[in-house]
Amino acid sequence: MQDERGRIVEARSLSGNYYLLKITAPQIAAQAKPGNFVMVRVSSSLDPLLRRPFGILQSRPPHIWLYYQVRGRGTRLLSELGSGDGLDILGPLGNTFPELPGKKVLLIAGGRGIVPLFHHAQVHAAHQPLLLLYGGRSAAELHLLQEIQTMPLLQSYIFSEDGSIGQKGLLTSGLEKIIAEQRPQATLSCGPEAMLARLAQMFKPKKTENYASLEALMGCGFGVCHSCAVKVVDNSYRRVCDEGPVFPLEEIRWPS
């Protein structure tokens, strides 16, 4: 983990207010593992004050890639930066998905929740057969489709809410059928809270080993401020940044 001065190599604007950033950050790139994230200072002024968390999409030293949607002031400021601009990046942070060798693994990605799962697939789809369920609002928001389809040993199922690509509907609507056909032994998921809560419901009783990567509002990203607390089943809290962001799906107390 380090606070590294990175430099943007390429900033690409995509449909749906999404952006893809390629950043030179050799030390972080060398250490990054699937599931890890970084904290980025989006401004050199004192406003906004705090860094913003971003999952690492992929890492090929000396570069890392971030894929994000503009959601508020921080992401908007980041989207205004371009090639050649410097960025303070803290990372890599957080834990990783378990590797699960020899197991049949289903990846479930909702929208920008694709980020850590793309990274996982990229590292593991070369030597382990993987299934991927990738859903979003429309074809225009499933930017990583092309890259995914070139990964060896990865079988993908695509869903869009408007039916513009793949099967129409939420990915959870097609999940039962895929599980019945493929009988995965484990699932790794990331996406909107409602999707993860629905998965937690659907996976009861537990037939698969399930892990989810969580998103949270973070102050520091390295376990110090305790802002990113998430409630777990015994009613205590875990820090998403330091004890996560990957947790066993069943361990989280999901909103009902």
């Binding site: 004050l49 803290l90 509002l217 102050g219 520091c220 401020c225 809290y237």
Partner: protein
């Protein structure tokens, strides 16, 4: 070469920069970023007798150049902290300050006794000013009589130097500071966070479950600096200034109004090695301003 050391009377610090409670974890989290030995001292995250889960989320709300927090002093309890201190003291020679909390006066006394007995602890900071424990933000430091009673009780029980951390949310912070001094405090630290309110316009409800939360960061610096100046003019014991420090110049501002040392807080969240930069900047600024020793400007504000 500028002289950065600070004599508090009961302890000499190699420089005036102390990392503030609640913003520096238990010290260990910062080992990847810098050698803790460079710090004047470090204050651990506030501790109660028993483990505390902290407040329900959301716990954080960003404001212009600042942030509101309602963490609620989540922590592992005093038994576990003793183990952490033993580990930490093996890794640094910097004085370790324990931030002592309590649900009531009795607990403050018990926790203070526990850590006063540890050789690895240099001093205690009595946290009578956290706004996130009781609903509405009430704390002992809002009342000079309660402050006097509580500080005197703790003072009688412990041998270690005692810092009392004050709240900017008291009606008369100078009166509270004088009460702490009279009750036997060795130093005063101020300020803890300012009570603030954030609302959710859509839901027409406060953002935080506790309604109010504590504001910190550069936004509060002028407010804090004023209170530190007012307290410094009235008390005789050393004062540790806290509030919105992000640079070496900020540190010198606090020294100019009378602070013996400072604590840096929120900056640690977004710049983990901020202390290293700030200590370096103090030296550069002192050379630029031809200040050889901090005592030359301490309390020398012409007003």
């Amino acid at each position: 070469m500028a002289e950065l050391s600070v004599d508090l009377g009961f302890l000499t610090l190699k420089n005036p920069v102390i990392t503030a409670s609640g913003t520096f974890g238990y010290g260990e989290e910062f080992l990847p970023f810098f050698n803790l030995d460079i710090l004047g001292a470090l204050v651990l995250k506030g501790i109660f007798k028993k483990p505390r889960p902290g407040n329900p989320p959301p716990r954080l709300y960003e404001t212009p150049a600042g942030l509101l927090n309602s963490i609620g002093l989540a922590g592992p309890g005093s038994k576990k902290l003793q183990e952490i201190i033993l580990r930490l003291s093996a890794k640094t020679s910097t004085p370790i300050i324990v931030n002592v909390c309590g649900e009531d006066d009795k607990e403050f006394g018990e926790v203070a006794e526990t850590f006063s007995a540890m050789n690895e602890v240099a001093m205690l900071e009595l946290n009578i000013s956290c706004p996130n424990v009781k609903k509405g933000g009430a704390c002992p430091a809002q009342d000079k009589k309660h402050t006097f009673r509580l500080v005197r009780q703790v003072r009688k029980k412990i041998s270690k130097p005692l810092i009392v951390k004050l709240s900017p949310n008291a009606a008369d912070i100078v009166a509270v500071a004088l009460a702490a001094e009279e009750a036997g405090a060795d130093a005063i630290s101020l300020v803890n966070t300012f009570l603030g309110l954030a609302v959710d316009l859509e839901k027409r409800k406060p953002v935080f479950a506790n309604t109010f939360a504590g504001l910190s960061g550069p936004a509060i610096k002028p407010l804090a600096l004023k209170l530190v100046w007012e307290v410094c003019r009235q008390v005789r014991i050393p004062v540790i200034g806290i509030g919105g420090i992000t640079s070496g110049r900020d540190v010198l501002d606090y020294v100019l109004v009378g602070a013996s040392a400072v604590q840096i807080g929120t900056v640690n969240f977004y710049e983990p090695a901020a202390a290293v930069r700030i200590i370096g900047e103090i030296e550069v600024e002192m050379d630029k301003l031809k200040i050889k020793d901090l005592s030359e400007i301490r309390g020398k504000l012409r007003a």
